[in-house]
């Protein structure tokens, strides 16, 4: 019980800190924090699939990019408000994930990984091919609509307060979802899919549902990214971008909601600090960290800590 109380307290303190952050951080860090939060969502989309449902998707970048381009293209055509853009990003993320997922979940094992990777290549190529719409290799600059009709996204604080509620809502949603019988059933698929089927669980449908929800979360992250950076580019669909989400999740600890938060936060901060002293050092360092994590802490930072405290 006291452990729970501490968790509650830490969670409340964390939320309070996030809400107040712009009052004590300068605008550079506020913008940076907004990016971290939306990338945590991107990582959670992978975490829901891999950490909780046991599905290794190499293609979450696809739904991220679909969400981002939904925002960009809607702005170009009709200039709707943020209240419409974000749900649209979620929706297109879910629809595109449903399209891929309905085929992919039927394929077991490593075929699944490759099938989720194919759309990454197709979408990047589609973006390059349709450069009139997408900006091709140069990407597309957009002018986000004003939040509530008056606050510009070019102000980092506005961006931040647009991202924060989405971040918190998604985190609470995931917490709730994973406690429902549906969320518990995801775990059964992860642990032993064949057994779950014999117990009466429609595992194909469960995997599909997880895939679509994850697509919606990635779409939301992409939509937020488009608004915050005012920029979209087809190459964000590349599997190497999806791999970022995988790394953030696994370094932090897959199968925990805190893992992607820690992993994304730590690694993006490391990138920011390194970029000042050694421009190309981050990927190199990340590569080595990754090898180290895999060999010495396969459950990630949060997993390792939890194990230490539990044991």
């Amino acid at each position: 019980m006291s452990g729970n109380r501490w968790q509650l307290l830490a969670g409340a303190a964390g939320i309070l800190g996030l809400v107040l952050a712009p009052t004590f951080l300068d605008s550079f860090w506020v913008f940076f924090l907004a990016e971290i939060l939306l990338f945590i969502l991107f990582a959670q989309s992978f975490n829901l699939l891999f950490g909780y449902t046991g599905l290794l998707s190499l293609g979450q970048s696809v739904y991220f990019t679909v969400g981002a381009y939904t925002v960009a293209l809607l702005i170009r055509q009709w200039k709707p408000g943020v209240g419409l853009l974000l749900p649209a990003g979620v929706l297109t993320g879910m629809v595109s994930a449903a399209l891929v997922g309905s085929l992919a979940v039927r394929v077991r094992g490593h075929g699944f990984i490759i099938i989720t990777a194919v759309p990454t290549v197709v979408l990047v190529l589609l973006g390059q091919d349709q450069s009139a719409w997408t900006g091709g290799d140069n990407g597309l600059n957009i002018i986000p609509p004003k939040l509530l009709g008056q606050y510009s996204f070019f102000d980092p604080t506005v961006s931040y307060y647009a991202v924060l509620p989405c971040f918190l809502a998604t985190m609470f949603f995931l917490r709730w979802l994973l406690a429902t019988p549906l969320g518990q059933a995801f775990l059964l698929v992860r642990e032993n899919e064949a057994r779950a089927a014999v117990l009466g669980y429609d595992t194909l449908r469960l995997k599909f549902v997880a895939f679509v929800i994850a697509g919606g979360i990635a779409g939301l992250a992409g939509a937020l990214d488009a608004l915050v950076t005012a920029y979209v580019i087809p190459s964000s669909a590349s599997w190497t971008v999806a791999a970022d989400a995988i790394i953030w999740t696994l370094v932090g600890g897959a199968g925990t909601l805190l893992g992607p938060v820690v992993g994304t936060g730590v690694l993006l901060f490391a990138r920011e600090f390194l970029s000042d002293i050694w421009a190309h050092g981050y990927p190199l360092l990340l590569g080595l960290v990754l090898i180290g994590v895999v060999l010495f802490a396969p459950q990630g930072v949060v997993g390792a800590l939890r194990k230490r405290m539990g044991g």
């Binding site: 032993n192 014999v198 009466g200």
Partner: protein, 243 residues
């Protein structure tokens, strides 16, 4: 008849594991399926459970064809199976494992808030039945082999099946552990229809109402334990091998 198979046949590559099998199980009986290794016993259970699709032939539950259904649909019709090698959910707790058996099906997933108490009660009931109540909160991976076998049966029991398939429930267990499983099975007899594949003749002879002997995927003999014990064909191909 609760369960009927008609001309059931399963080929693996060119090899027939089950050949034109007509097999019937009465409601609430305890049936043992025996036979030498490779006789098709495990294949039969997998066919009934929908883990395999028959090459030919049909399977009926209460007269309703089920051989074309996927496993999860068959499970929802009231068939459950305990695997020979425990197929539990290793990082979930023992109680969560049992709960996995209680609440199945996406339809019931969202809206069982009101059923929480009911589910908890059922979980506790099953944990008592398999004598694992004191280990409810341990991760299943930390159980000993004998306990994992009991949990495996518990998973199937939790589904409250009308037909329970047991694939070698006592394989790899000590004498004492086997006795515990036998007690558990006895407590189910007369309440649930049981079909068990088993090698241990002590278990088979003392529990089964009827024994079916499979040989090369076909029914060689069927009868009460006494009849099977006295059957010269069975003695020749089976009992003699086991001494």
């Amino acid at each position: 008849m609760l369960l009927t198979t008609r001309n059931l046949t399963k080929h693996f590559g060119g090899v027939a594991a089950i050949q034109g099998l007509d097999f019937q199980v009465d409601a609430l009986e305890t049936r043992a399926v025996i036979g030498p290794n490779g006789a098709g016993k495990t294949t039969l259970l997998r066919l009934i459970m929908g883990e395999l699709t028959p090459t030919r032939g049909e399977i009926f539950l209460n007269g309703q064809p089920i051989h074309h259904l996927p496993s999860h649909r068959i499970a929802r019709l009231g068939i459950a199976k305990a695997f020979q090698i425990p197929q539990i959910f290793p990082s979930l707790t023992v109680a969560q494992n049992v709960q996995a058996g209680v609440g199945h099906g996406l339809a019931s997933l969202w809206l069982n808030g009101g059923r929480q108490a009911q589910i908890r009660e059922r979980v506790a009931q099953v944990l008592d039945q398999i004598h694992l109540a004191d280990k409810a909160d341990l991760p299943a991976s930390e159980l000993a082999h004998g306990e994992q076998k009991r949990l495996e049966i518990g998973l199937a029991l939790a589904q409250s099946p009308q037909l329970l398939l047991l694939d070698e429930p006592t394989a790899g267990l000590s004498h004492a552990e086997t006795d515990e499983i036998m007690q558990l099975i006895r407590s189910l007899q007369g309440k649930t229809t049981l079909v068990m594949v088993e090698h241990d003749m002590r278990v088979v002879m003392s529990l089964a109402d009827t024994i079916s002997v499979l040989h090369f995927g076909q029914l060689l003999a069927q009868g009460t334990p006494q009849e099977i014990r006295a059957n010269p064909k069975v003695q020749e191909i089976y009992l003699s091998q086991h001494g």
